[in-house]
Symmetry: C2
Subunit: 346 residues, 2 copies
């Protein structure tokens, strides 16, 4: 019965704690903490001792304990609207993930993946996120998405891929859709095409409007008359592309080129053109957008506008980390250049 209060009790199969490191290094907890957090006010002697103890013990800081006191979770959420499966296809999603992930792991933050339903649960989701992460990245935002605003109200730094409207108040990254579209149409003009149609995306997306502007601009610059008959709205699906193409052929059977707002739409257009007895690119040239896996695999391989997806991911993460660092200030927008990838369809 001489058990006078168990001294340190090495703790069974448990990971070493900061306390254990301090004991082993012969310093106080505060000093270990300072070393870990890179404080300059530590003598090199202490620092060396602590670093050695950390290495010997294989110490890894307990994130929960740190979060409890600092109120930072060191994690950000990537929110994806459920149903936007389009996003998951190459190269979009892999690129975004790779970029975001690279930027985040470099600073020791972790990435949470959250699928969001587009129903009335957005308020609940916003509150959930505000308790779980330091910031939020969102892709595929639509004009009427409220989640970004809800998050903003809760003070959760948020960065979007793309803007909801031309005056997006939140930080965001987007490709130069306007310039990409203009370049695509210029390319068609250089190939000698003169009756150039376009199949757009959904009207409630900013990318649709930007690409349409680029299309118009290119034609006006070239003094080619623009005909509203040559503009049809699609929905980014293959079926939408077929339907739109059918309508275009009805209106202007003499068209000699089509600029589609997505590769999948373009692939539908190609099918419909072929069904009407036209050859691509001999009779009608076709350009897509996204440079997706479909562009490379359909026949003929599709000329397409490529976005710097991975860099967009990296930039999104960087902007968010910026906002985190400066407490919500420094909200910025970044526009990245696109590149035309020429293949057999033009």
């Amino acid at each position: 019965m001489t058990s006078a209060a168990q001294p340190p009790a090495p703790a069974p199969g448990r990971r070493p704690t900061l306390n254990a490191v301090a004991a082993r290094a012969g310093v106080g907890r505060g000093t270990v903490s300072r070393v870990i957090n890179g404080s300059p006010n530590v003598s090199s002697r202490s620092r060396a001792a602590v670093e050695q103890a950390i290495a010997e013990l294989g110490y890894v800081p307990n994130r929960a304990a740190r979060t409890l006191v600092t109120r930072r979770t060191d994690s950000v959420a990537l929110v994806i609207p459920e149903g936007e499966d389009r996003l998951f296809s190459e190269p979009y999603f892999s690129g975004i993930i790779r970029g975001v992930s690279a930027e985040l792991t470099a600073v020791g933050m972790q990435l949470l993946l959250v699928l969001a339903r587009n129903d009335g649960e957005q308020a609940r989701l916003a509150s959930y996120l505000s308790a779980r992460v330091d910031g939020v990245l969102m892709v595929a935002v639509h004009r009427d998405d409220t989640l970004p605003d809800l998050l903003d109200d809760l003070g959760v730094p948020t960065v979007l891929a793309g803007q909801r409207s031309e005056h997006e108040p939140l930080g965001h990254v987007r490709a130069d859709n306007y310039g990409g579209a203009r370049g695509a149409v210029q390319h068609l003009l250089e190939r000698g095409r003169r009756v150039i149609a376009t199949i757009t995306g959904p009207l409630n997306m900013d990318v649709t409007r930007a690409r349409l502007s680029g299309y118009r601009e290119a034609l006006e610059n070239a003094d080619v008359s623009t005909d509203e008959q040559l503009i049809v709205h699609g929905d980014f699906t293959e079926e939408g592309g077929r339907t739109a193409m059918r309508e275009l052929l009805r209106r202007r059977p003499d068209l000699d080129a089509v600029f589609a707002a997505s590769d999948v739409t373009a692939s539908g257009a190609v099918l419909e053109l072929r069904a009407s007895g036209r050859q691509v690119p001999e009779d009608v040239a076709v350009i897509g957008f996204d440079d997706s896996i479909v562009a490379r695999h359909i026949d003929p391989p599709l000329t397409s506008v490529q976005q710097p997806i991975e860099e967009m991911g990296r930039t999104m993460a960087a902007l968010l980390l910026d906002e985190l660092a400066q407490q919500g200030k420094g909200r910025r927008e970044v526009v990245l250049p696109t590149q035309l990838v020429v293949r057999a369809s033009t």
Copy 2:
């Protein structure tokens, strides 16, 4: 100077705590905790009071505080080998994510996305994961992947999509690759094809061996002689498909069907067949695997073997939650049926 120790100090812009709920409900902290965690030993009076207080205060439990004491993080990681961009294409990745996410959010767990490099960092990654999550889900495991074993050694429950070898010790979910391949070849036989070649995947993947077995089995069942000349190895890429097809045509110019181990491989094969002057499906029928976006968009649309991807995701998560619940026991394997989707290529 009459400031005698600030009493409760309502705390400024901070979220309500369990203490605040207890005070408002007029009960002790223990009781609030019991209500939140669904303990049965709470009088219905107390329970009602607590629930009302929670609602009024908009209380959300602090996960870090809970994790600190329970040593559970209530989160699992989905580990994806970097470079396996193939996985990111429709429908694979979106399906897995949707299935996993649905199952996890139903029980309040969160999903961490982790990109893993295939270098010597795996030990570090394993240790990182063991500190950050309760369990791990892995996709695209190769025969020589060590991460699953490292995790197992650290006692981190792990569930794989697919098996590394035929005697996978870890819990895993896979599609019936054998049955799917057999069914595909049977379909070709029913279409009257007799000289059926196959382009496999990489030999270090179990799916490759399983699909090859199914191919052989179907031919043997039908008393069609199998010729090793008809088997060529690919690598799941389009270029690999072209190369393999070229080799097959050299060896057996009389072949009348090809079963490819992936849609992308199949699309390469189709291009090469066409280049050789053959028509698909008139001269040579082609079947792919995965029922990916490529299958639907190439010309002709590809007959393909579809896997129940979303269900695989759901099942993976369910198996992991099971292991979590029973402390690593109940390690199981689940095989899900495939389905042949017939299109114009056969």
